[in-house]
Symmetry: D2
Subunit: 274 residues, 4 copies
């Protein structure tokens, strides 16, 4: 059995991934934020400078949206990619967006700084292999019923194709509890830090599905050792085309960043974004 | 909100899907069997006539295998498709195989009579849309953490593209119980018959992961109203390249078919394979 | 490690438990039915003869009800026990009722023919030990998050105190699926028959929480090898004080018994109630 | 519908519970520690002064142990209670121990400062009512498959009997993930603070089942707003009669307390134990 590339045995030292002028992993902490979907240019052009000012390191937004029903809004596609890219360019923020289909790889590669593989595709092995041959960082979300081992082996599909820039993302698992949208598995964050050298961030928005829980859970995740957060934010959560109930408004995100920064500072002097 | 195409409201009458000289749904019951993976031509050429003789309606076998680890056997690919096709042709059995990647669609379409979408891809919406434009039946497995509603909406992605030949397949969901590989959700079979006109079959092999439970669970599924079964069988389960522990040997499958036939007969006079 | 008393290694032969003039286990199949709660004497005195006539073997009804909220109807207590007992006596049916508190043991023992331990108390070890010292059969429901092994070890608490008359009852486990109240684990029935000599019955009412699913799931359970059923029935399900939505009306139960009898007949000549 | 006594609507202000010279809730943070079981007096008399010195606020230890198998060590009973009490008395620490059986109430009441209701008994309503009539604080652990609402309603059983001193304890829920013993539901901690005025603490030992995860998870829990921790510690974890693999040694606990104190300090000036 070859030594797994994701494992602590393979690399004792934490992997640090640099994107533009920030980094994640190896002590560097990163905050990614943006709306669930790129709804229109106004939303993105309004949000981007606000996020930049409050210290966000990268801008997120979905152009291709995986939706449970075929009759729900499916994202703006190429137009969404272009808006996201321009919004990032205007303020100097790298951008993260999800790739759903191997045939869209070139398009997404052209506009994204970090390519996201969503929960539903965590075991879409063709897609994993495709981004495994890319030279851009991949944000790999945990599948909603994936064990920690399956998640790390999904990362191995990417690593084994040559791309060593994998950022893991815990976003909650599906359990019997339905007060929250999913159940954030905070011990999985600690377990991944133990088992792997890869950075792991947390998505408190999908994990909880409730904006009032996003702040406490984010603080908990950072104190437990997460290397960063990816948070949903919207200028008008009530009118978001998707996931409004779990989105923060910009003021709430600014406060979250301050709270999280306090947690980071009391633990370690190393902070991302340098 | 448009009336969902999968729903009982859309069609009160059960959908019957005909494949070669058998049918599934609307009272017709079907048994699909074969090894987990098409390992080599000898296995398939030995099994096919045995299965035909015992009354199996279609032959299954994976050419592209979705495996948790990138270092596990990944299937024979095109060669596997060709062997499966030939094995079916020799004895006059239609064949079922899994499609993993939209780029393999033409190949799989050429050799398969029924195209399987596996659990891990139940919400791979690109793949669903692709088979939604095909004129061959699709076997849609339930995702291991998918709700009944999400499963039916995944079927809707196929139906809404124009392909109305969708066979649903319950194959166990992931729960805390780990004596069995998954937990067969038998009530989901009854619920689907209530909510939808589509046929629904059961995979007792992946559901239980234990050959000794395959027979009782198969009988239970048919008595609860399933329209058929898809069962793993191998000439030498101990030496199977994957899933040996849950595979029946041919003699066990022959007995299962007799047992299941008795259940079917005591319930309804309509039997598949006519 | 002593050989577990519940195990097949301890006794190859199935345990048959006789209650009045019926039996369960070792080929004998039993149907227990009644309302969730003993609401009043009219309900019980009306139902009992109907159930007797349609071939039910024992009458169920809760006098002490474990309710999630302290403000819900908690059962009639001693009065409920007496009504249940009288209803059974009038028509010659043994009765089953739940024991919640060790201090109520003498009362429940006096009026019940079978003592039920509910799901919430499956690991109430004091209660298990108490009924383990009784000379009446115990119906042990599986806890809603109990593994098969934990369930069998709960039975071991009873057996090891000397009471060998334990009837296991699968009533659904808690999973992410919430279309149904719980998820009936039909493979657990088959697994228990494999691992243990004890009889195992199924509660399709609590397992599904939906009356329209009770019949198909009951047929499935019996075909998979269950030794019996415990079903909720009410003269007026819409007005039941608890669990109305999952209760059958008497006519539906009569049909269920016929359907289940057909399944039993096509499998084995041995039928309970002799 | 009466206003629930546990609810924020009933009391906007956090409930603070005082035990001896420490407090929990309303900004006061508490750390409870001790071995899983009171194994013998040497263990307890050795541990107690060590824990006192490192700033632990209360001593835990089980005298009556709820064990999955009837053949496992079941605790020392009354002798265990007395040893625990004496160990606490010697160093001036209040003690916490579990009550399993209503008939042991007087004994446990005599020796314990806080009465624990374990996960398996979260819906043992007789036991809840019994401690609801006591004038000592109750530590109510969440059931391993209990929803947040069921957990709060279990607290309501205690509150509605008159005892308003309920400390909730999140100790992990049962999910499909089995790398950890349970899955710590950190969002439940934040949700409880939102829905209720009662204090809520976290048990990182049972939640994770792995000593190497106890520290990061404890930090996460406190940062997310938990009012305290209950941690397993043993002088020789490898030789513990139960739960050794999840127990810290005293040095590890001392470090945990320092780490947790840093988290608390950077958030709020109020600290328990005053």
């Amino acid at each position: 059995m070859p030594l797994k590339l994701y494992s602590r045995e393979y690399s004792k030292e934490d992997t640090t991934i640099r994107i533009g002028n920030f980094a994640v992993g190896g002590g560097a902490k990163a905050i990614i934020a943006g709306p669930c979907a790129v709804e229109n240019s106004e939303l993105m052009f309004t949000l981007a400078p606000l996020l930049k000012d409050m210290g966000v390191h990268a801008l997120r937004g979905g152009a291709y949206k995986p939706r449970t029903s075929p009759y729900s809004f499916q994202g703006l596609g190429l137009e969404g990619l272009q808006i996201l890219y321009q919004a990032g360019q205007r303020v100097g923020l790298p951008v993260v967006t999800e790739l759903l289909d191997v045939r869209d790889f070139d398009q997404v590669y052209q506009y994204a700084d970090i390519i996201q593989i969503g929960s539903r595709n965590m075991q879409n092995f063709s897609l994993l292999r495709e981004v495994g041959r890319a030279d851009k960082p991949v944000l790999l979300k945990r599948g909603l019923a994936a064990t920690i081992e399956e998640w790390l082996l999904a990362a191995e599909y990417i690593l084994s194709e040559g791309n060593r820039q994998v950022i893991l993302c815990e976003r909650g698992i599906r359990t019997f509890e339905n007060y929250t949208r999913n159940t954030l598995d905070i011990a999985a964050v600690a377990a991944v830090k133990h088992l792997s050298h890869l950075p792991v961030i947390v998505d408190p928005s999908h994990a909880t599905g409730r904006s009032e829980l996003v702040v406490p859970v984010s603080k908990g995740a950072m104190a437990a050792g997460a290397d960063g957060l990816i948070v949903e934010v919207h200028t008008n959560p009530q009118q978001a085309l998707s996931d409004g109930v779990q989105s923060l408004c910009p003021e709430e995100l600014a406060q979250l960043i301050k709270d999280v920064q306090a947690i980071i500072n009391c633990q370690s002097p190393v902070v991302g974004g340098q």
